[in-house]
């Protein structure tokens, strides 16, 4: 009786002492999250440099314009601005952008729906990988403009042709992204998953796919860039009045009319839309995936 009493009184404080030591260790080890960066610093570090670069570019452009002094070869920034403003005032600007963006995004979604299962198949089935893996990565280096002539011959001058070109450009990127994502899943995760009973389909759903997400998202980002480029190539080469005027057609129209302002307007819009979609959709997606895993170090 006495012995049990001493035993309980002896172990209880030891246990609470241990809990205390542990709490102390945890507190010492915990990484203090970085506080909110003040706006002034974000402005100086992140926003100011591109503004300065853009301003410098405009200055250089203006000077070159004065030196060249030939409006058929080079127009001034102000001319391009006026062309843009006129297009806006005539209510056409958003139409150009929407024609291309809606095509691009819809084509990208098709590419996503095709590229994802294809990537999964290549990543998981040995025979499929050996058979089409090299072709798939080879296709990535083929400029998608090359697909425009055959697509026109197969499908004619219509929207399906545009989508076909987008698919041929973006599907390999998306599939390859998923394949490399799956390849880079640490074997330790798969082992841990297997001991927990995540085998077969459950292993794919609960372990492999979430672990492969960073590679997949990188593939999506590249897939979008390829979609956009392919679409512009298709729109420039296959411009046809019935297809509506997208940014590629705008560029081609500018060339036909020898209207340098319109050419620059189109190039500028193609560039800005590409950047905007990346900044609004893909970069936040990528940052979110990496940050939630502690893979993104705040700079």
């Amino acid at each position: 009786m006495a012995s049990t009493e001493t035993k309980t009184t002896a172990t209880k404080p030891a246990s609470t002492a241990l809990a205390g030591v542990e709490a102390g260790l945890d507190a010492l080890d915990v990484v203090t999250p970085a506080g909110r960066v003040p706006f002034r610093r974000t402005f100086v570090d992140k926003i100011l440099p591109p503004i300065v670069a853009t301003a410098l570019l405009l200055v250089v452009w203006q000077i070159t314009f004065k030196v060249v002094d030939d409006p058929t070869k080079l127009v001034s920034p102000l001319d391009v601005w006026n062309t843009l403003r006129d297009a806006w005032l005539q209510g056409e600007l958003l139409g150009y952008i929407w024609t291309s963006v809606s095509r691009g995004l819809l084509g990208f979604l098709f590419a996503l729906a095709l590229g994802t299962p294809l990537g999964l198949l290549v990543a998981r089935v040995k025979f499929v990988r050996a058979a089409i893996g090299p072709i798939l990565s080879g296709l990535q280096s083929l400029p998608s403009v090359a697909w425009v002539p055959p697509a026109v011959l197969w499908l004619g001058l219509n929207n399906s042709m545009m989508y076909a070109v987008i698919l041929l450009g973006a599907v390999p990127s998306i599939a390859n992204g998923l394949v490399s994502g799956v390849d880079q899943v640490p074997p330790l995760f798969l082992r841990a998953g297997r001991t927990m009973g995540a085998t077969g389909l459950r292993g794919t759903v609960y372990i492999t796919l979430p672990a492969a997400l960073p590679g997949y998202v990188a593939g999506l980002k590249q897939g979008w860039a390829f979609s956009w480029r392919s679409l512009m190539a298709a729109e420039i080469i296959a411009s046809f009045p019935d297809l509506g005027v997208g940014l590629g057609q705008l560029l081609e129209n500018g060339r036909n009319a020898s209207d340098m302002s319109m050419v620059f307007e189109a190039i500028l819009l193609i560039l800005l839309v590409g950047i905007a979609i990346d900044l609004l959709i893909f970069s936040p997606l990528e940052r979110w995936v990496l940050r939630s895993r502690g893979l993104l170090v705040k700079s």
């Binding site: 241990l18 260790l25 841990a192 001991t195 927990m196 009973g197 979430p210 939630s292 502690g294």
Partner: protein, 262 residues
């Protein structure tokens, strides 16, 4: 005699071992033909027993745990376990896309625990490893010691009778490791689990185990066994722990020395 024994085994409800390795050998295809990694290992872990497997490099400790965990098949011999074993690694192996709590819940889900019960069970397990407030924490927000405790909670979530541990504290600093030794002993006593713990740290083996099994290297064989009678709670600095460690180290070094004499 044999029949009565078999009958007795059938009538007894509880299994008499948590893991039984019967003449287990394992070889892998190597550059010079088949390479024998484990040679004729026979080992029983009783229910609730804490056994450490000790050995130098090349003794096949991790291979052995993989076999017991069912991640690989032995070349010869049989392994029987009381249900699927849970496995803990040197690296925490927590999934970085899930929070600490959700990592535990995934183990519960894969075990078939119904959704409404998972949250409460996960919080209970976190409390058991004294990480009550860590449910929403991401893996990268936790320290090394905390990660291993979450990994321990996740392993416990599998409700296996046998916990396999593959050098789980080897990558931790000495202070944290000492604390986790105390924690593991406490959790082992509270849960009544059987533990098969692999390490190359002699004092850690003696600090934790009821039985220390020394494996020789290349191929791995059971070289010797020690029963550790030192009462818990022990400390790694305790004189009896140190004494036995010295004895075991001598034998271990003898085993290693044989490999230098060709």
């Amino acid at each position: 005699m044999a029949t009565t024994l078999a009958e007795a085994a059938e009538t007894v409800e509880s299994v008499e071992y948590a893991a039984r390795l019967d003449h287990v050998s394992k070889s892998f295809a190597g550059p010079g033909g088949q390479q024998l990694v484990l040679d004729d290992i026979t080992l029983d872990v009783a229910p609730g027993e804490f056994v450490t497997l000790l050995g130098a490099s090349g003794c096949g400790k991790s291979t052995l745990l993989n076999l017991v965990a069912g991640l690989d098949e032995p070349t010869a011999g049989t392994i029987t376990t009381d249900g699927r074993a849970a496995l803990m690694f040197q690296e925490h192996a927590l999934f970085p896309w899930l929070t600490a709590g959700k990592n535990i819940e995934l183990a519960l889900k894969l075990r078939g625990v119904a959704k409404p019960d998972r949250r409460g069970k996960a919080e209970e397990l976190l409390e058991l490893v004294r990480l009550k407030g860590a449910y929403r924490k991401r893996v990268h927000e936790l320290s090394g010691g905390m990660r291993q405790r979450v990994a321990m909670a996740r392993a416990l979530a599998q409700e296996s009778r046998l916990l396999l541990m593959d050098e789980p504290f080897a990558a931790l600093d000495a202070i944290t490791r000492d604390v986790l030794h105390d924690e593991l002993t406490r959790i082992w006593e509270e849960t009544g689990l059987s533990v098969l713990f692999v390490t190359h740290n002699v004092r850690e083996a003696v600090r934790l185990a009821q039985r220390v099994v020394l494996l020789s290297s290349r191929p791995g064989r059971v070289a010797r066994e020690w029963t550790v009678d030192i009462p818990q709670p022990r400390r790694i600095e305790d004189a009896p722990v140190a004494e036995l460690s010295i004895e075991i180290t001598e034998v271990l070094r003898g085993e290693i020395r044989r490999h230098g004499q060709h």
